[in-house]
Structure formats: structure tokens, C-alpha cells
């Protein structure tokens, strides 16, 4: 086994997901399958190979620091599931 149910449960917590017992069972099997498959990458010696995270390395795509029009408060809040017209509302934190 590459991954245990307990590990999947922990990863789910990190990803802010709750899995039912049935989902947990199924996902563990499917993840284990996939992780066994991707282990084929270990066939390759990559100790001297640089990683590619982006095909064309871009660094610091700056723009001029000038004011531009942005969304109005009304527009920004419009899709909020709960707001009071000024801010988004969430369940009490402290």
C-alpha cells in the first residue's frame, strides 16, 4: 500500500474536505492505484535534471504603478453568499 486510509483522511483535512466512510474507502483505493502507477518515474535518474515549473520562465511581470478602475463595492459583493453591503460575512471566528 502506497497510502493508508488514515493518510487520506489527513490529506482531506488539509484540503478542507470531509469524506464519508464510503468515499474514504473508494478514494484510498483509487489514490493508491495512481501512486503505484506514478512510481514508474523512479525508473529515471533525475539527480542532474533541473525542474520545469513553467515552459517560459517569467519573472516579475511588472506594470506601471498607475491607478486603474476596478470593481465597485456593489459588484465585488454581488456574488457573496452572505454580506452586509460593506463586507463579506462568515461564521463567528472568536
Amino acid at each position: 500500500m502506497k497510502i493508508s486510509k488514515k493518510e487520506v483522511e489527513h490529506v482531506a483535512h488539509l484540503a478542507r474536505l470531509t469524506l464519508t466512510e464510503e468515499e474514504l474507502e473508494k478514494m484510498t483505493g483509487q489514490l493508491d492505484n495512481l501512486l503505484s502507477y506514478v512510481a514508474k518515474l523512479d525508473e529515471l535518474d533525475t539527480s542532474q535534471v533541473a525542474a520545469t515549473t513553467h515552459v517560459f520562465p517569467v519573472s516579475n511581470a511588472f506594470r506601471e504603478d498607475v491607478e486603474k478602475e476596478s470593481l465597485s463595492q456593489v459588484e465585488a459583493l454581488a456574488n457573496g453568499p452572505q454580506h452586509n453591503g460593506v463586507t463579506f460575512l462568515v461564521p463567528k471566528i472568536i
Partner: protein, 485 residues
Amino acid sequence: MNPYELTISQALKKMDTGELSAVELTQSCLDRIDAVDKDVRAFISVDRQGALFQAENADRQRKAGQGGRLCGIPLSVKDLLSTKGCRTTCGSKILENYIPPYDATVVQKIKEAGAVILGKTTMDEFAMGSTSESCAFGVPRNPWKKGYVAGGSSGGSAVSVASCECPGSLGSDTGGSIRQPASLCGIVGMKPTYGRVSRYGLTAFASSLDQVGPLCRTVEDCALMMNVICGYDEMDSTSVKQDVPAFSLSLTEGLEGLTVGVPLEYFTEGLDVEVQNIIRNSIEVLRKKGARIVDVSLPHTEYCVAVYYLIAPSEASSNLARYDGVLYGYRDMEADTLLDMYKQTRSKGFGAEVKRRILIGTYALSSGYYDAYYKKASQVRTLILNDFKTTFQSCDVLISPVTPTPAWKMGENTEDPLAVYLSDILTISANLAGIPGMSVPGGFTTEGLPVGVQLQAAHFQEEKLLKTGFNLEQGLGLEQRKLDI
């Protein structure tokens, strides 16, 4: 011929001569949607009023001698692209009621060119899939054979074009999501070079792989749409400043002096015999058109699926962290604490495939596993990129199948995700390497299912792809088959 059957170029000519109006064309497409969409399910939403309003505008512009390159052309748009004031669900329950306050750059560009947006198309949830079956709002069907998948993730876009509900569509391609449904539905689809087309307003799945591109019925139309959507955009920090050639102008050039490579690793066991024959036939067509054919090798092909299914979910797990029920989208209102609100919102809002990929990605990026999975995959990605760089020193265009098989039955492999992931083997390397690729119809199987031919080229060589695709299309001269819908 009904107006809805016209290609973009044909419709533009008829509108230029005044033989057809944008309103007539748009109404014809809307009627076609009313007649067939219940069977093919290409659309999540159709904006009838908005479309006719835009068409009236286009007619006014035409009368005044104005209007852009797509003036009056009805198009569909994948529901992953932001459309201002028009619901954008990404095929997910979590965004069921989301109405974007802005247009994606590509949407703005087609609007400026005068296109009429008919509606938003069905797709795999957040573009994660190869059949569009994970769409929360209807699953598109292959118009060529009942009960068969349309492909994905831009399945609805491909079906809308193949079913003549519209002559063109905008889709997105992270691992084959334009080329594969185009192939399975018998139309043309292109994934441009990474950075060629702005991703601003394209809901992020895997940011280093995602690219927007056109789906249409002819290579000529593809060239036309490419010239409308390509170009640098300051709103996308990975957009590349590179001149965009007038693609339509070089289509009719011959293939003398062009070298076409046949990658050995793309013709392995598991490749359907009929698919293989259609590709071999296409190779002969290109040879007759003057191209030199050579065998080439991309030795790391067998590692592409493993690399992709670590990198794409890793990026996805990070990108999809934003769906937390706070700023937009679905929220579970029953949860008492913030943590529970996050967990319940995401658990109820996301479907199984999205959850699976978030879990894979979170695991691959988590402390202790990062080096073994994400970093390792990124290193092998370099080897894959180098394979292409070496190969394109000795050839201009690669020819291969798009998928190892034609379309398969709906509902197959839903319990075995890895089996479906493996079917992406021929398309995902283009995304990992950032190179352009396209699918051009190559023929039909004896069962009547379409098979596409994949063409790939070096970075920013879309012109070569379109020219080769045009020659292939002309050389094959496939009969126009009629759908029985």
C-alpha cells in the same frame, strides 16, 4: 443549405454580399439549438435575447460599413470562461449561481470582433476529465453515435460545433481538452502555444498547462479565430510578447520543404487498427502534397501520464482552494464554525473527480512527499520538453493520432479513473512542453465514428500547423457526412 450549416468563412461571405443577415443566421442557430440540444446537450445556458440583441448590433455595424473580423458570427463559449453578466458555472455545483462581473480577455476579443455569443457549453467539472461526464448540468453526447461520449473536457463546445448549433466555439486545453473532443466529434480544434492566448478570465485548473483555443469545422475557420484571440495581454503575467502572423494568408502554400515527423512512441500497442490506418493514410496525403516524412523518437512519452497526473492535480489543489464559500459561489449555511463551513461547502459543492484531484495534489505537495512526487514530476517534465526540442531540430511538424481509440460508450471506466487518464497519453505532452497542437478530421471508422489526426509543432509555429492542416483537409477531401439529428 440552412444558415446554421454554414462555416464561419461561408457565413461571412454571405453577410458581406447582403444575402444573409446576422439576425437570420443567429435565429437559425437558436432554432437548431431548440431542435437538437435536448438530444446532444451541448449547452448549460443559452442567451437567446442577448444573442439576438448582439446580432442586431452586428447588422447595424455592417450597414455602416464597420464591424470586426467575426461580425455577426454566432459562437458558443466553454463555461470555464468568464462572461460578464452571464452565468459561468465551470460545470460545478459550487458555482451554480455565479455571475462574473467581468469578461475574459478572449471573450472581450471575440465581442470586439463582432461575434454573437449564443451561450455557454457543457464540460467536465472544472475541466477535469476526458468525457465531460462529470458536468453537473447535463452531459454532452457524441452526435455521430447514440450512447457514445463526446470527449472532454470541452465536450459541449465540440458538440455544439459538430451538431451545427454554431460554426465555432472557444474551449480550453490543459491535457487535450480541445483536441480530444474535436477528434471524437469530427471537427477541427487547436491548442495554441502556452502564452499565445491570454488566460485572463479562464477559470484556473492547472495554470502552467491551461490554454484557450478555437473549435470549428474547417482549418480556414480555425486560422480566422486564431487571429482574433491571439496576442499579448497585460492582464495575464504569463502571456508572451510575440508577433502574431496573419494565419489565413499562408494556408494555401504547399508543403514543399516541410518535414513531417512520425513519432514511433505514438504508434504502440493499444492503438486501434482503424485509427492507425486513418493516420497512415493522412501521412501519405501529406507526402503527396510535397512534405518529407521522417521517423522520429520522443523517448520519454511513456512517462507523460505519470508526470501530468502529478503536476495538474498539484496546481489544481492550489487553484481550487479559493472555493471556500466566502467571496462567491455555493456556501453551506448550516455549519456553525468557519472550519466546518469550509469543509461542508467544499464537500457538498465539488464532485468526485474534482475531490480526487484535489486530494492527489494536496498529497503530492504535502511536506515529506514534495520531493518524491511534485519535484520529481517537474524534473521529468524537463526531459519531455527536451525530447521535443531535439525532435524539432530535424522536423517541422509531428503527425500522430489524438487518442488511441475512437469515442467509447458513456459510463465506461467511471470506477477506474486511471484507465481514463491513460487515454490522454497522446495529447498531454503538448501541454507539458507548452507547444501548439491541433486535431484535424482524418476519416471515419466502419462504425461511423470520426477520428482526428494530431499535428504538433515547436513553440509559436501555429502557422506551420495550420498550413499542414489545411493541406491535409484539402488532400483528404472527406465527404460531408450528414448527421441524423
